[in-house]
Amino acid sequence: MDEQAGTSVESVFREERGRLLASLVRRFGDLDLAEEVTSDAIEAALVHWPVDGVPAKPGAWLLTTARRKAVDRLRRDQAYAARLAVLQVDVDRADPAPPHADGELPDERLQLFFTCSHPALAEDDRIALTLRCLGGLTTPEVARAFLVPPATMAQRIVRAKKKIRQARIPFRTPSIDELPERLPGVLQVIYSVFTEGYAASSGPDLQRVDLAVEAIRLARILRGLLPDQREISGLLALMLLVHARRDTRTDSSGGIVLLEDQDRECWDRSMIEEGSDLVVVALTGGAPGPYGVQAAIAALHDEATDVESTDWPQICALYGVLLTLTPSPVVAVNRAVAVAMRDGAAVGLAALDALSEEPKLADYHPYHLARGELLARLGRTDAAVSAYQRALNVVGSEPERAFLERRLAETTPDRE
């Protein structure tokens, strides 16, 4: 296959895989079977398309092929077919399949989003399943993304699929009155993928750009499917506005560069523009949601020409709103850091010290790092050193460790 054909086939698969899988799960009510025949159909496409050319309706071609493979498999395995038939009767009775015109695939990925993020599944399983089914990552790729052995990830995915099948987690879109309860879970899964991409929880690299990009792609799909849900716009805005700084967050050797030292000329302007527009969407027409507020904070950072001219009072106010929406010690830490920028290090430090009893912050290295920074700024070197040391004890990735060690080294020479 020549390179161009290869690229176009790949992009077709990327676009169509989730859609195809969703459609097949909907039809057969079985994620395993759907995955298997999706792979079969893509394999068949890899054989035929380079020779015959990419068909006019690649999605329909793949669906027809996959359905044929599914029927073949069900013929081979009668017991399996009988069990599926029982499931299928119920599914049809509950929700007859919508007719669809001239081979166009109905987009059933929304159901797949809600199935993969069902609260009855363990949180890690939800992330794995979403990446596998909607992101189209292979099991070894998902394993690599989360730095676990492929066998562990395979087990996790098998376990999740088994629960979906045996406990009969339905493949459906929640009704409008259920959405407020279920949508945050879907958004959380996407955001978890992003945050792992933004700051890897362990390993040699600070960022996993592939994961961040995948999270943004998933949020775009979800927004297309549920355009009226403003928190999806908020989440997409947040991720774009943060991801816009990706190239300046590390130096040429992979070391951390703080916000105040980043070359703002190199921030991704088109992402910032798109993100800022989405913030307006997210915050217009009703009470703000937590992602919209966080996106607004990110937008204020991105739009400032430097740290000094950043609108810290506004950022502090937004963190105050965020705290009422999602009271959490981590948000309180961020607010305290913003307060330090607005009112000075001593006031910020007092706000941080007020959180010292929070058990969740004991192992949260950014808390100890923030204390270290403010203590150092106030000239309290000994206290700063011990705060940096506490942060070092619980730090995640290698670049974060290196950054802390550098800070510690910079602080120590001042000691008597």
Binding site: R83, V86, D90, A94, A120, A167, R168, P170, R172
Partner: protein, 114 residues
């Protein structure tokens, strides 16, 4: 699809307001009216429990009390027949036993034998 709702009550000594008898009556009636109720009952007081074990050699041991001391106590169960887990979870959420620090465990019955 049949699901068993295992209703656990909060640990003893909890003085928070508990559901009334009428709440339970209403819940039972709602399940029956909806046609999802298969079977169910409340269990007698935990102090009436006796546990039986049989060893590999066939020796029988009878002891007072439940098998394991847990913080929550199994107080009753219902078996319902609904299309999927979401429907079962919705019924579990309406159960008075899910409130006041209690919880309801939802387990599908292994109907297909796999």
């Amino acid at each position: 699809m049949k699901y068993m709702l295992l209703i656990y009550t909060a640990p003893g000594g909890d003085t928070e307001p508990q559901c009334t008898f009428e709440d339970w009556q209403l819940y039972d009636k709602e399940m029956k009216d909806a046609g999802v109720w298969v079977s169910g009952d409340a269990l007698a007081d935990l102090s009436t429990t006796t546990t039986v074990r049989v060893s590999q050699s066939g020796e029988k041991t009878v002891t007072d009390g439940p098998f394991a001391e847990t913080r929550e106590i199994l107080g009753g169960y219902d078996v319902i027949d609904v299309p999927d887990l979401d429907a079962a979870l919705a019924w579990a959420a309406r159960c008075p036993g899910a409130r006041d620090g209690g919880s309801v465990e939802v387990r599908p019955l292994a109907g297909f034998g796999d």
